[in-house]
Symmetry: C2
Subunit: 434 residues, 2 copies
Amino acid sequence: MNPVEIIRAKRDGGKLSSEQIKFFIDNYLEGEITDYQMSAFLMAVFFRGMNDDETFALTETMIKSGKVVDLSFINGIKVDKHSTGGVGDKTSLILAPLAAACGIYVPMISGRGLGHTGGTLDKLESIPGFNVNLSIEDYKRVLAKLGVVMIGQTAELAPADKRIYALRDVTATVNNISLITASIMSKKIAEGADAIVFDVKIGSGANLPDEEESKILAKKLVSVSRKFGKKAIAVLTDMSQPLGNNIGNWLEVEECLELLNGVKVDDLSKVNNVLAGAMIYLGGKVKDISEGEKIAQEIIDSGKAFGKFLELVKEQGGYVEYLNAYKKLKRPEFKSEFRALSGGFITKMEAHGFGMAAIDLGCGRKKADDKINFLSGIVLKKKYGDKVLKDDLICEIWSDDIAKNEAGKIRINDAVKIEPEAPPKKELIIDILE
Amino acid sequence: MNPVEIIRAKRDGGKLSSEQIKFFIDNYLEGEITDYQMSAFLMAVFFRGMNDDETFALTETMIKSGKVVDLSFINGIKVDKHSTGGVGDKTSLILAPLAAACGIYVPMISGRGLGHTGGTLDKLESIPGFNVNLSIEDYKRVLAKLGVVMIGQTAELAPADKRIYALRDVTATVNNISLITASIMSKKIAEGADAIVFDVKIGSGANLPDEEESKILAKKLVSVSRKFGKKAIAVLTDMSQPLGNNIGNWLEVEECLELLNGVKVDDLSKVNNVLAGAMIYLGGKVKDISEGEKIAQEIIDSGKAFGKFLELVKEQGGYVEYLNAYKKLKRPEFKSEFRALSGGFITKMEAHGFGMAAIDLGCGRKKADDKINFLSGIVLKKKYGDKVLKDDLICEIWSDDIAKNEAGKIRINDAVKIEPEAPPKKELIIDILE
């Protein structure tokens, strides 16, 4: 086998055998195939795609590049949730302890903020002391003890994905369905989950802006999961506007704490409960997702989910008193307000623009080594479809630098539109693929 | 400007500005942009192409990466010919001295054999002593003295092309019209020609197998030449079967010597004279190509072209007595014959298969550092459309190893087809773009 022949075959729209894919990835890791050949290959895949068999072979090769965690010593179904990423998307922090409080094991390995989207690890780290860098042994221990554990990717799991992902990031080859699928699935299989719920975002704040592409990705995630013998459900959810009211790491933790203490936030509660319901269903505790959804709200209302969250934070080194005192915590130094320039209805509240504004405020990174300001962020007072009068407060903007607030305001001004007529209602749960 | 943004823009079908192209190439040469970013960019260009403005900007940047030879001290029009490459394509050796014998200056920088196609430099080096590695100063001196010079690419001219070409070769990004155009044109402009005749090959032996693509390439070569203020003509010629009767480096020189001494070889003489006619026309010596074509044959018949060829060989260190004694020279040790398996008409004589057979015989390289056997080759006794009886000799196969002859024979057997009905006549000169 010859690397140039394999690149050419994919370039010309051919289907690669699993042997060809394995040859290419394995030789890349061993240094026999160069970065420049891999990047040409990735760009060819970007244009030509991969079918399910090829995606499966790529995923399998990436899994075998590292360890696979054996969780068989835990007697129970292990269910994870993965979101394709959005703005204000904080459901992991709610549904992981929630599902664990139902008796399901939740082994969750998450990522950091990427581009305009936030990351679960950054949110967890806004809780002082919370350690996301557990060893695989500690990961297994915490999961067995509490039924839930939340960590970051380790160097031992799917190292091929780590190297290839870094290359994709600097060669404009990130947004391809097969590459995204293999990247997500290799980590999910390696972490040891038995079943996975995928939250595939659709709309301006999603990583794949095209709705049809997101639907294809959802199907692919489910079909590749099944090929690995895993149960899977994909829920397609709206990401045209931010999810919930708070954007920014600590602000999002606060919103989760409120929800876990019984406050309801229309869109966030709904999306959270459907995803949690799907996890409870895959965990074999109920007969369908909607029964799971009802159970999810009951577990929240009982306080058990909040209790489990506090246990988790404590076990992973977080400062629980900080959480309990969250209502009294200070905000960043500078607060700005964004108010309605005219009366009418909010017909646009573009998630992508709010995500970019959050980066300006210091909630995310422009470069990989940028430092995050955990307290910065945006608090929405109005959402899509709401009626507003001129000068009504639409959102608060918080950061440690007034110039950052001003930069964020410019983004938000572009992201919000007010018109005389009420806009059509948007579906929050667009589809569920079982 | 950001390399990833530029790759993404081209990936998504955008048109790049000349500043973006210059930024990308210049930073690549300076090491700020990596090989893996360049190869992802090249693959994106492979799929999306470049329009004339982009191709012009790419060519210009590659030219400016090195020296441009100033030939203005020579008082006369400098005309070069470039072939996109074929099998048995030896016209450069005939028409370069021929055009010079007409008073035109021919500054020719050629390449080596690539894949199944032969290279002018390898053919010249089959003449003992012939030196293709002249300095730019000697290149200018020989051109001024004789009106013709034939050398290989030097490190000083278009070094960006050299680096990018090497990368294209190992990343399956060779066969793209814009990249081919920029590669050819950057060298042609840097060598100092005022006018260029392009011989764009069409058919199985061409480097671009698709006829429509070859036609687009021809147009692009002419239009980019004009943008650089150069006169240009593209002649589209048939490369479905080998050109002339001899294939292999020294065998092809021999065929040129015969032609220069008045022997006519149907297809080779025609293609040679049309190309030479176009050069003579661009050199301002005649009113159109067909008058140039007539003059070309007259110059050959007068012996002046042969005389100029001997002067050139002598000036560049070649052993002229070897040429004069060519009829008495020995062949390689092993001769095989390929004979008709049945009677009928030759309906296929596929150039690509004969080119691959020639590589098997040692006429070309499988790897960059393979040594060539200059004497090996194939002598065709029949061509496309010829009537044959069973056992008629179709070609002789020569090499230094009988096993090589057998390998070549298998290729030739696949490349030749004999059928009862005469095939349609093929156009040799398919089109001329002025």
